[in-house]
Symmetry: C2
Subunit: 206 residues, 2 copies
């Protein structure tokens, strides 16, 4: 049997990336996982030092450098039994993502899934962005915010997502070369972008 | 009549971006311009200070800052009659690109065309890239080079294209948000990538 198809989606806040991912999963009849679902699954799976000990060797350069830096910051003593909480959460979520990819086709939004599954066959890494005006409009409508609040929320999210991605991958968030396909969702709109990604997935599945 | 459709293509050396652009233009039955054709047209059009004087106001922030920097370097005296040659060439090529976009539908490869036409309706900005192994393979075959020479040519080109783009636009070459769509040409291969872009162009034309 062929490897299950995984589509990872990185996205700017307000670009419609999550909505696009959900619609692509529905149309392809495959599972959909976003940040929230993965966080919950990681919590449920339990977070213990044995688990992290068994899995951390599978984590590559970026994160391991970060482990060392964190350890140095904590006083120079480094052991996987003393991973800072944020790293433990990352390792646990990474395991959830690998478990999903091992057993079923799915769309996975966020959580550095592209990096965690790097090199995996039958994986399409997507990044969705949009011009700032379109993002502001979307966030204002979705969350009933005024323009200033929407702009602030976007700036905060961009910074957080960029920092999170860089912290765990050593790569730049939103750099074209890190993805298979990056799309401005305003070019064709959400529906046509979904269609294009569905077509792309079907080509890859063949 | 609707504005002519312009597809600009930025591309990594060895990604097949030029070949993809040419095939897209053929399939859509529109003109194709690459770096070489644009350079020749700019040369033919003649390069004189009146021309630059008349056009430089249309050039935006990035380049104008650069004018000032160059002028400062030259001793603090700044006049458009004393533009350095590289800037004159850029201004002249930019005019060629705007003239093309005013009169006909076309695919334009390279020359910061995305930036020069920024804000123009009915314009699709594309960036084509590929993993380093695929680029090396392509360059080795195309130019009968060994692996080391191909790697060196790619590194040189990446640096030059990145520098050129940043110099004239103040933007980062290959940053997803600067394009409407970025594609790894190895995902589907050249032919299917061409098909996808042709479909996209037809959606936009409607």
């Amino acid at each position: 049997m062929q490897n299950p198809l995984i589509i990872t989606i990185g996205r700017e806040y307000g670009s419609g990336g999550r909505q696009i991912g959900q619609a692509v999963a529905e149309k392809l009849g495959i599972s959909f996982y976003d940040k929230k679902i993965i966080s919950l699954a990681a919590e449920k799976s339990g977070l213990c030092s044995e688990f992290i000990e068994n899995n951390e060797q599978r984590i590559r350069g970026g994160l391991m450098q970060n482990f060392s830096a964190s350890a140095a910051y904590a006083g120079g003593f480094f052991s996987h039994h003393y991973l800072p909480l944020s790293e433990s959460i990352f390792v646990s979520q990474a395991q959830v993502i690998r478990d999903i990819a091992a057993k079923e086709s799915a769309v996975i939004v966020g959580r550095c899934a592209d990096y965690i599954l790097a090199g995996r066959p039958n994986t399409i890494n997507v990044f969705i962005h949009a011009p700032i005006e379109a993002r502001v409009k979307r966030i204002m409508e979705l969350y009933q915010l005024d323009e200033a609040a929407a702009l602030k929320a976007i700036a905060t999210s961009d910074k957080e997502r960029g920092n999170h991605y860089f912290r765990y991958t050593d790569l730049k968030w939103g750099k074209a070369q890190n993805y298979d396909i990056c799309i401005n969702s305003s070019l064709m709109g959400v529906d046509k972008t979904v269609e294009m990604l569905v077509d792309l997935a079907r080509i890859e599945e063949r």
